[in-house]
């Protein structure tokens, strides 16, 4: 406390704070930066810390300029651009690491703080999970404390931490109000760099051997569904994804259409199920719905092949409501073009399979399908995640030699057989099953539930689902992937969670995440409207929202103002009693001067008003004893009584 020496430079003792800021905001990026960059950043910060410790000179500016140019060139070489998301983050990290090396004035310190805020934002490109959210609060506390330290001079660490915490605590209600009411704009505002959505996982828009067995290695959630009524049987939960009707001998794809096909015709037979799903972003247009959907969410359409397509690729986790019917007739009158496509095979390949199919050609289509399924069931076929590699005649090798495969092998072999036998058929990819989380009742479907099955077209019945995997490994459909695969298959541990407590822990964690996703991450313009409507603000436009926002912020600001109003300690009772006594004497004609001590005053009173001498002497004695001696509550009471014992005025 007291006068502080003037500061032209950043205080020596404040430098570690700024280094901590640099470390806290740039450090967590090490996970997705190239190693050389992480080493450069770590080296620069260590160097600066060493200079601080030694009290050494900062390096000359030209050497830093060279370092920056070198680092930028390295980034350009590594990312092939300086503008993308990853390259931009790398540049920010480099600036953050090198800025402390030329930090001299308080303005440089401010730049570091602002860079820190930017870097905090960039973390959310990579993760917006609950831990990242908590990290946000911690890092904000550090940045705030650093600002306090920069402007408030040396203080005990605890005092700085407490004050930073107080500021953040008071800022939190503002954050909540702004979060709730600030008019949300649906992004993006402009075209995003190409790498913006890299790393989103999910079903691909093509299928080749291995594509689904790779996907099921991941325990990541694909989507979560909440059913309005009863949950259907697990074996009925076929979540339809992309439909593949073109085969080139290795890969199944969806054939691009020249002219739009007519909209599908669905006749629902059974009861319908309403549910809403929170789909993770997968950067594809299809939305995963139960076979087959009858009511679609807005801004989506049903493709001729019955999958639900959104207008734009799904780039953020979003919520959709569907109604599906599990018993249906679909496209009983299919166009000849579609049927023709469902019979097309690449010429010449797989002669043995074609020969087998030729034997079945004379039978009715249902019998052909049954024959194929019987073959899978009765002959030595194995369901495995580790199928052998197949050569150019993949179907021949699979059906007659290897006989080991995963669902994509069975689905594609079945469809090939059907087409070769003259039955229109196609492959459907998607997810099968799911697991109910008892904590919040949501059905959780993971990437490990990815599946592929077949559909054949029968006259009078339309497209009918046939799942050849069910023939080979019925438990896959009834119980899930873990039960279907023999022990020793390379399933990741998170799929095989046997321990009950671990399963419970995961359920709780995922339920918490689901709440977080809906309330924090999924809070988009539409959700905002829903929430505000529930709060009684029906159909708000940005004007009324801004008005509410301003009003609530004003009220909050007032509350904070009152909260932080300078607090005074209650007045000293001894002093109050003495002053009250002196005021009474003042009214009776004797005024105590500010500088006058109690005893001297009592003496003067004795001269001026002999009638009050004894009482004043007692009061002054009490006060002196309380103030300068060892007086206690007894004296205070006496002093207070003196006031009442004074004779009334005018006597």
């Amino acid at each position: 406390m007291g006068t502080r020496p003037p500061q032209q430079l950043v205080e020596h003792a404040a430098v570690p704070w700024l280094l901590a800021v640099a470390l806290a905001t740039a450090g967590p990026h090490a996970g997705h930066l190239p190693l050389w960059l992480s080493l450069l950043v770590g080296g620069a910060l260590l160097w600066r810390a060493w200079l601080w410790f030694q009290g050494g000179q900062l390096p000359p500016r030209w050497s830093l300029a060279l370092l920056v140019i070198g680092a930028v060139a390295g980034i350009g070489w590594q990312f092939h651009s300086l503008l993308g998301k990853d390259a931009g983050v790398a540049m920010l990290v480099v600036f953050m690491a090198l800025k402390p090396l030329e930090m001299r004035s308080p303005r440089d310190a401010l730049v570091i703080i602002m860079l820190g805020y930017f870097l905090l934002l960039t973390h959310y490109f990579y993760s917006q999970s609950i831990p990242t959210g908590l990290w946000l609060l911690t890092a904000m506390a550090l940045l705030t404390a650093t600002l306090i330290r920069l402007h408030g001079g040396a203080q005990p660490l605890a005092a700085i931490a407490r004050y930073a915490g107080l500021l953040l605590l008071q800022a939190l209600p503002f954050m909540l109000i702004l979060y709730l009411l600030f008019p949300r704009v649906a992004g993006p505002l402009w075209g995003l760099p190409q790498d913006a959505y890299a790393g989103l996982s999910g079903l691909s828009n093509q299928m080749s051997p291995g594509s689904i067995s790779n996907l099921i290695q991941s325990g990541a959630i694909a989507f979560r569904s909440q059913f309005v009524g009863e949950l259907p049987e697990k074996s009925e939960l076929y979540w339809r994804g992309p439909v593949f009707d073109a085969y080139d001998g290795l890969t199944w794809t969806a054939r691009p259409r020249n002219a739009p096909l007519p909209a599908p015709v669905i006749e629902a037979i059974g009861s319908s199920h309403a549910y809403s799903s929170i789909l993770e972003a997968h950067n594809q247009r299809w939305l995963l719905a139960l076979d087959v959907p009858t009511r679609l969410p807005p801004d989506s359409s049903l493709a001729p092949t019955l999958e639900v397509l959104a207008r734009e690729p799904l780039r953020v986790r979003s919520r959709f409501s569907f109604t599906s019917t599990l018993d249906y007739r679909a496209n009983r009158s299919e166009t000849s073009e579609a049927l023709q496509q469902a019979l097309t095979l690449p010429p010449k390949l797989n002669p043995r399979t074609r020969a087998l199919a030729d034997e079945w050609k004379s039978r009715p289509p249902e019998k052909i399908a049954e024959a194929a399924l019987a073959m899978f069931r009765n002959q030595q076929f194995h369901y495995t995640l580790r199928p052998p590699l197949l050569g150019p005649d993949a179907m021949d090798e699979f059906l007659f030699v290897a006989r080991r495969g995963f669902c994509e092998h069975y689905a594609s072999a079945f469809v090939f057989l059907m087409r070769a036998a003259g039955v229109p058929a196609r492959v459907v990819a998607g997810y099968q099953g799911g697991e109910v989380n008892p904590v919040d009742g949501y059905l959780t479907v993971r990437q490990s539930d990815a599946h592929a099955w077949a559909e054949i077209w029968l006259a009078g019945k339309g497209w009918v689902r046939v799942d050849p995997t069910a023939a080979v490994a019925p438990s896959r459909i009834e119980q899930g992937i873990v039960a279907a695969l023999p022990a020793g298959e390379p399933l990741p541990t998170f799929v095989r969670l046997d321990a009950q407590w671990m399963r419970q822990l995961r359920n709780r964690w995922e339920a918490a995440n689901n709440t977080w996703n809906q309330w924090v991450l999924g809070y988009n313009p539409q959700r905002q409207r829903e929430v505000l409507a529930r709060l009684g603000l029906t159909d708000p436009d940005w004007r009324s929202m801004s008005a509410w926002l301003a009003m609530l912020c004003g009220v909050l600001l007032l509350a904070v103002m009152v909260w932080t109003l300078p607090k005074r300690r209650p007045a000293d009772p001894v002093l109050r009693a003495w002053k009250a006594y002196c005021m009474q004497l003042d009214r009776r004609g004797v005024r105590r001067a500010e500088w006058e001590g109690p005893i001297a005053f009592a003496q003067r009173v004795a001269d001026a008003r002999p009638d009050l001498a004894a009482l004043t002497h007692e009061a002054a004695g009490c006060y002196a004893e309380l103030r300068y001696g060892r007086g206690g509550g007894e004296q205070l009471r006496l002093l207070q009584q003196c006031i009442h014992r004074l004779p009334p005025q005018g006597t």
Partner: protein, 324 residues
């Protein structure tokens, strides 16, 4: 110009404060963002665009938290000044060219400390002060003097950017400060004792040669004249005694305006006189001062020295200088 002055006077209440202590009420505290605060706002805007574009919900949360922090900082910066009590202290005279220090007693009645209070006069160096919770302290606000005379340094700028440096709250208290600035002394040899004086004594020692007795001490007596031995002997009494010396009128030294070089300017001649006063005081001489139109009878001691120097400082002017 006059209009802006009137406006400033109305807005900032720039008038000498009659009521002491000066209490900083909300009416006289102003607050605007600092350049750093404006940068903060721009950074937030850019971050918001980024968060919207990439659909970063947590990014929104971060930005809103920062915005809330900015609002909260406004309240805290304001409260860092609000309710502060200021009482001007006595100003020590200084010589022209030196820094005058205007003491301002600060009283903080609240339970939180008030940090990073910046005090300055207009166009003058700034001093930063940290005030503990529930305490009083005195800050000395510097003012670089240039000319002799009575100085009114004008309003004090009391500003703070604590805690986050994003906003600057300030107030313009105008305590009734006044400081006498002596002429900058120019050292030249003392003039000879005045005509008619007995010159058998070395003039510098005059007045202290012959012990003439003891008398009770007055405040203006230099401490070196206290008769410590006599005081110690007469311990029953509380009075300090000083030695009295027989110094006749013949030993008096007159520092006369007419003795200063005529070819120098008025200010220089006052400076020479100031130099003489200092020299005479150092030599413990009895000296008097003659200026056109006024005369101070010979005497010695700190009070005498101060009144002589003040006469020089205020010579030829009764209006205050400096200030605004």
């Amino acid at each position: 110009m006059r209009l802006t002055e009137c406006f400033q006077r109305w807005l900032f209440r720039v008038a000498r404060d009659e009521q002491l202590p000066i209490v900083l009420s909300q009416r006289r505290i102003f607050i605007v963002p600092t350049p750093g605060g404006i940068l903060f706002a721009v950074v937030l805007a850019v971050m918001l665009i980024g968060a919207i574009n990439y659909n970063l919900s947590l990014g929104h949360a971060l930005i809103f938290l920062l915005a809330g922090l900015g609002l909260v900082a406004m309240v805290h910066t304001f409260h860092n000044l609000f309710g502060l009590r200021l009482t001007p202290g006595r100003v020590q005279p200084t010589f022209a060219g030196d820094l005058a220090h205007f003491p301002l007693e600060l009283e903080n009645v609240r339970r939180q400390s008030r940090r990073a209070l910046e005090f300055s006069f207009r166009d003058q160096p700034m001093v930063t002060f940290d005030l503990a919770a529930e305490s009083r302290a005195t800050v000395a606000i510097p003012w670089a003097t240039q000319r002799r005379g009575r100085v009114d340094p004008g309003r004090v700028t009391l500003a703070t950017r604590y805690p986050l440096g994003l906003l600057r709250a300030w107030s313009y208290p105008y305590p009734p400060f006044s400081c006498v600035v002596y002429p900058r002394p120019i050292r030249t040899p003392l003039p000879p004792p005045s005509p008619g004086a007995q010159t058998d004594h070395h003039h510098g020692d005059s007045g202290q040669e012959d012990f003439a007795g003891l008398r009770p001490r007055q405040i203006s007596d230099p401490t070196r004249h206290i008769a410590w031995k006599a005081v110690a002997r007469r311990s029953d009494e509380q009075v300090l005694l000083v030695k009295q010396f027989s110094g006749g009128a013949s030993d008096e030294l007159w520092l006369d305006w007419s003795l200063t070089p005529v070819d120098r300017g008025e200010e220089d001649r006052l400076s020479i006189l100031a130099g003489w006063i200092l020299a005479a005081d150092e030599q413990q001489a009895r000296y008097g001062l003659r200026l056109p139109g006024q005369q101070i009878a010979p005497s010695q001691g700190n009070t005498h020295r101060a009144s002589c120097l003040q006469a020089l400082a205020l010579y030829g002017e009764s209006r205050p200088t400096g200030g605004h």
